[in-house]
Amino acid sequence: MSAAARPLEGGRRLSLSWIGAVPFFLYVGVFLLLPTAIIVGGSLLTPGGTLSLANFDGIDKPYMFKAFASSIAISSVSAVVGAFVGALLAYAVVTGKPDGILRRSVMSAAGVLAQFGGVTLTFAFIATIGTVGFVYVFLQQHGIDIYPNGHVWLYDLPGLTLIYMYFQIPLMVLVFAPALDGIRPQWREATDSLGGGTWHYWRYIAGPLLFPSFLGCTLLLFANAFSAYATASALLTQGGVILPLQIQALLTSETGSSQPGYAKALALAMIVIVLVVMALYTLLQRRTAHWLR
């Protein structure tokens, strides 16, 4: 009796959970899968509807190489610097009191700041260290010129990298803190009692334990910067410097010669890069999952 009832119950539970997940799958379908399908389709089909790689023809042009290189450069630099600074900050927070005010405030601030971007963030930077920004003016008055030789790097790739740091560092704090939390104080004390010092602990214990996660988080930061669009669009007046802007330029050409197929080909290239990076991130996270529980 009860044995017969069990599968039925299980079936009912399954169907219920299915209903609950429908909005999620709808959301993912409409806002993630559908656009991806459009991009994949659009990039691989000619306007006539035949399968072809024609859209990828222009991808080897020198200015395209440059956009790719710039995108990868600012993403790498902002990811690596953000990862180091963020990891140090996370370490300071995690090793403090577990329920301390420092930890709680830094973590919630990081949660907000990691989402920051676009016009608001760009404006904040221009208003502080732009050529009329109050910090710039203040430093100028005290004999410090942050733009030597009149080179205003803020409106260029270095500036964009700096602004990206503003959300990269908090994101690192958010994603790396759990790994640090997984480090148990016993390991430090065990190292001590076995005759090891601080160097041995970091070299043989904490370092190897944290490195895969650190690397994974850095990749996540890379993907985050690589796919960021709004901030760059607000800061850089010159179009096409990095890939997302290049795509924008191709879609909204002022001369009326927009090339949606080509834009989709570029987007697909970006998606592939992000997918590869995220796959590596997942692999690295999984590697440490049972170490740092």
Binding site: Q186, W187, A190, T191, S193, L194, L292
Partner: protein
């Protein structure tokens, strides 16, 4: 050091904790704790949560600094020697194995830090892992081992560096009861085999009594009593020890001439030098026996069985005497003819007991 030709020399050294005091913001974790461990001896520190057991162990390990007092190992004052130069083996409560290293690598790590050659390292790792019965599992990682196996590896890791002293802080408390009892005996066997001076911290009285040469019962940062398990159990020095180690009945009585009269039975006192007057006697359940045959006229020791708890070979019978409840413990065979509801007469064995006064003498603030 000693070359007296014995096959397995007792490697143990003497360990002295002298007047150790450690204060945290508002609490005094240790209050002038003094304790000497003889070479090769296993002392168990037993006490309720927060009494300072872990603090004592950590001060000995050098993981924590004392406010005052000294730690002396093998005649050498190591109070100011950092933990990584004390050569002390430690086993933690749980999760202390390095998770990215196999059991063997964990065990070899300490020897690596001591610059022991690779070949010798391998050999000694195998030796200690065999000693704790984990030879076949030496290439497994922590997440592939059971809790008990992990603790064995932790023990092997601690012993591999040939430490002068072995410290264990509740090493069994994360394990289930059956594994706990087996591993406890295992730890004792290994400790005797290696002959290392050992401090074992626990809040489990059964564990402490079973494993130790001597048990130190702690309360609020100091030792209440230090002695062999039998003495701690049968001759508790203070009411605290009597109540913490084993169960006790608290029965009202009257002290006169070095003995206490409890419900008509005269029982000698552990400490006869107390003033006469009313007091509470602390009577072990094993000192209470019961009879149910014959006439049951009402008397001070006649009551009704209200519960029988089966504990295996022993049983515990709860008897209601009208104005108080008394526990009696006896062989299960003896308890089987007194089910709940039976009218019984209790007898109190005249083992010396401790007493407690209703109003303890006020101590200076």
């Amino acid at each position: 050091m000693t070359t007296d030709g014995r096959a397995t020399p007792r490697a143990g050294v003497e360990v002295r904790l002298e007047n150790l005091t450690r204060k945290y913001a508002t609490t005094t974790a240790l209050d002038r704790l003094t304790l000497t461990l003889a070479p090769g001896e296993l002392v168990a520190l037993l006490g309720p949560s927060g009494c300072g057991k872990t603090t004592a162990l950590r001060l000995l390990a050098g993981l924590e600094q004392a406010d005052s007092g000294h730690v002396v190992i093998a005649g050498k004052d190591v109070t100011n020697v950092p933990a990584n130069r004390r050569n002390i083996g430690m086993v933690f409560q749980a999760y202390s194995l390095f998770p990215h290293m196999s059991a063997r690598q964990n065990v070899e790590f300490g020897m690596q830090l001591q610059h022991v050659g690779a070949a010798e390292r391998r050999e000694r790792a195998r030796e200690v892992l065999d000693l704790v019965g984990l030879g076949p599992h030496m290439d497994k990682f922590a997440h592939q081992l059971s809790g008990g196996q992990q603790q064995r590896v932790a023990l092997a890791r601690a012993l591999a560096i040939k430490p002068k002293v072995l410290l264990l802080d509740e090493p069994l408390s994360a394990l289930d009861a059956k594994v706990r009892a087996r591993l406890r005996d295992e730890i004792r066997r290994v400790q005797l085999e290696v002959g290392i001076t050992t401090l074992f911290v626990t809040h489990d009285q059964e564990e402490a009594l079973a494993i130790a040469d001597r048990v130190g019962v702690m309360q609020s940062g100091h030792l209440e009593q230090l002695g062999p398990p039998t003495e701690i159990y049968s001759r508790p020095a203070t009411p605290f020890v009597a109540e913490f180690v084993g169960l006790t009945n608290r029965i009202k009585g009257d002290v006169r001439g070095g003995a206490v009269t409890v419900r008509g039975t005269r029982i000698p006192l552990v400490d006869p030098d107390v003033t006469d007057g009313p007091a509470t006697a602390l009577v072990r359940p094993e000192a209470v026996s019961l009879a149910s045959n014959g006439e049951m006229e009402d008397g001070p020791l006649v009551g009704t069985v209200i519960a029988v708890a089966f504990l295996g070979a022993m049983s515990r019978v709860t008897v209601d005497l009208g104005d108080t409840i008394v526990l009696a413990q006896m062989a299960t065979s003896a308890a089987s003819d007194t089910p709940a509801g039976t009218k019984v007469r209790l007898a109190l064995r005249p083992d010396p007991v401790l007493i407690q006064r209703e109003e303890p003498a006020a101590t200076a603030p």
